[in-house]
Amino acid sequence: MSTRLLNIANTGLNASKKSLEVTSHNISNANTEGYSRQRVHQQSNMPLIKDGLITGSGTRIKSINRVHDKFVEKKLRDSQSNESYYNNRAEQLSRVEDIFNEIDNEGLNQILNNFFNSFRDLANQPENETVRSVVRDKAQLIVKDFRRIAETLNEISKSIDDKIMISVKDANQHIDSIATLNRKIRELEATGDETGDLRDQRDLSVKELSKIIKIHTYQDERGNYNVQSPGIGTLVTAAQSQKLGTYVFGKDESTNGQDGSMEIFWASRSGQQITEKFQGGSLGAVIKVRNNDVKQLKEKLDQTAYEFMNYVNAIHRRGYVNREIQTDVNGNPVSMDNKGPTTGNNFFSAPMKIEGAALNIDLSDAIKSDISNIATALSPNSPGDNRVAIAISKLQHERLMSGGTATLEEDYLKTVGNVGLETGKAKLDAEQSEGLLAQANSIRERISGVSIDEEAANMIKYQHAYEAAAKVMKTANEMFDTVLSIKQ
């Protein structure tokens, strides 16, 4: 009789102790990232029939579960992907934007403007050597600025290449750890119970992976946990993982038309390039910036440089150099003198092709070697003739670009405007997605996070239950003593 009492008290003691252990585990992990609080499921034991009565037989801990909501977890993962995408996009684009920022300093637009105005000044006094050298200096600044923009855009692409390589390495690590955790969880859970801590770790890895790329997870009918990336394919199936690899490519095979471009492949299938299939996450963001935004800007800039050089050259070639030109027997001006051709000189070195025009822009050798080669006159031996200079200065207000619909300035400012708009949009999206992520995180922490207050209250509760159970044991003990003392 008393034995049963002792047994029942023992189950209570054990259950309280286990519960206190779980409470302690929760408190210890209060600050562990990705940790979900755990709860004991306590159940009364099977009742027994004894002496015709159905009586209880104490308590037991049925299971220890983590408090977890998989839909909240999924929402958190998606928010994480979005936040990472927009933040990375905003970060990269604001680097691009800085190139075109002319609020505090002189940018290409003002430099182009200075160039045209220097030609206007030259038209005022075409005889003046000093003004000529000012024109050459201003032209040199244009050369520098086109190169600055083109080079900085290339640098941004290059830094994105590095980022892609590191991101893919990171992603591989997470893919690997998810697969490993899958195996461990399956082994541990073969006994039937859920392993909260390992599942938390896997969720954390999945969350980290979703920072890099957008992913979906699901459990198939055989209980395999799978990770998939939309547009790419399956990354993890149970304990199997598919890793990614990066290779450097030359200009012709690259996706962004730049030498040394980093491209992504499946590590096991090197034939199929998947760089542009990535969506969301930091990887999706930087690839899009590199392959769309930066690439388009470079093309646009090349186009501008190309047209600009060609138009200036076309007019400049018609002019005569600013020095005494001898005439031949028929009274026609000679086409060559000891300093080179007397007419038909290019101002900028003629661009070979549109691609790379901004990077390769330079003054022509004639202009570099002698400023008297800067032509202002449309007729030979006419130092006061400013018609060529005026014509070049008027290119500023001509609708030369976009099939004759925009001036150089309008066209360039449209590009600057687009950069500003895109960056502004990305910043706004980043801010918004940050808010959403904070919200999702907060919901997750409300459900799964540890509350010290709650744990403290539980601790008191279990402690009291433990004390009470111990009291029952003591009582049972006294009962034994009573029974034993009868015999004496």
Binding site: D385, Q396, V416, S442, A456
Partner: protein, 345 residues
């Protein structure tokens, strides 16, 4: 009832503090630069407009420089024409006085010397320079336009300058139209790019756009100088006229002098007309400079609205944000580091 955990509290505190602080930082930056815009993305449309205004302002100051050059050239030309008119007037007076039989040969010989002096004076005006350039030699500004015999060595170049957007003025008269009294060149001021047929494509389109302003401007700009100078084609040249007078005087030939009178009249009238026209171009240039100045003020005002921060608003915003941040710190102090365990003693 919503459950609150340690982490959810920290997260929300972190989020709000971060938000307020980044707002504060933004305001701080605006406060130090006094600009409402620091990057294109802050306000893409305003950024572009501000850049366009900067360009226009720079163009305008260049146009004003051009106008200074044009005015210098025009004023000197006008002054030269004035002096020339005086000389011709004086010569005409002499001719009138000497066209009768009152004077004898000796007197006429002396007067002839005076006329020769007048011719030399006219020649020196014809070879007048501004800085290093001769004003009456067309495009060949570095060559002396007239030799001592009064032969023209320059060309028929008309120099134009842009003194306002698409507003071109002719700033010189070449020696032929002033001294030789003939004008072969077409003095219409045309758009400089029309000399470059390869630009025709873009010209065609832009013409439609600016047809009004250009047409108007050209009307004013082109009509003043020498449009109908052609009708003086018949007249003799000024040096020749003075020479003829001197020779007639030396020959003591009052009839011949009489014959020259009418030519002197025409020459003086012609010079006066040219002068008035140069003057009216100069005044249109000045009007244009005033327009540019007014335009600049408007532009600066607009740009300031786009780029500069509203100081009062900015600083009241900063004060408000500081208060908010302070409150946020105060409340989070209460939330953090306090839990049930502190009271279970």
């Amino acid at each position: 009832m919503t459950r609150v955990s340690e982490n959810s509290t920290t997260l929300s505190i972190r989020h709000t503090l971060n938000k307020h602080k980044s707002k504060m930082e933004d305001l701080q930056m605006k406060g130090t630069t006094l600009k409402s815009m620091r990057k294109p993305s802050d306000n893409p449309a305003a950024n572009i407009e501000a850049l366009q205004i900067s360009s226009v302002t720079k163009d305008n100051s260049q146009f004003k420089r051009n106008a200074d050059f044009a005015l210098l050239q025009l004023n000197i030309t006008e002054k030269a024409l004035e002096n020339l008119t005086d000389i011709m007037g004086k010569a005409k007076e002499i001719a009138i006085a000497q066209s009768s039989d009152i004077y004898n040969e000796d007197v006429r010989n002396n007067v002839a010397n005076e006329v020769k002096q007048l011719k030399n004076l006219a020649l020196s005006i014809a070879n007048k320079r501004v800085g290093q350039r001769y004003i009456f030699s067309g495009f060949k500004t570095l060559d002396t336009p007239f030799n001592e015999n009064g032969e023209y060595k320059g060309d028929n170049g008309h120099i134009t300058l842009e003194v306002g957007k698409d507003f071109f003025v002719q700033v010189n008269l070449h020696g032929k139209e002033v001294f030789m009294a003939e004008s072969e060149t077409d003095s219409q001021v045309t758009h400089p790019l029309e000399k470059f047929p390869e630009m025709a494509n873009s010209r065609e389109k832009s013409k439609n756009r600016e047809i009004m302003s250009e047409e108007n401007n050209r009307e004013i700009a082109s009509s003043p100088i020498g449009v109908d100078a052609g009708k003086y084609k018949e007249s003799a040249n000024l040096f020749g006229l003075l020479d003829s007078l001197a020779i007639s005087l030396e020959n003591n030939d009052p009839d011949q002098i009489q014959n020259l009178l009418e030519k002197f009249d025409t020459a003086v009238t012609r010079l006066v007309t040219l002068r008035t026209r140069v003057g009216s171009v100069a005044s249109s240039v000045m009007t244009n400079v005033n327009t540019i100045d007014a335009n600049n003020i408007d532009n600066m005002e607009r740009k300031s609205k786009l780029v500069d921060a509203d100081v009062t608003e900015l600083f009241s915003d900063i004060t408000r944000q500081q208060e908010i941040l302070k409150t946020a710190y105060k409340t989070s102090e209460g939330l953090l580091n306090k839990n049930l365990l502190d009271f279970l003693r």
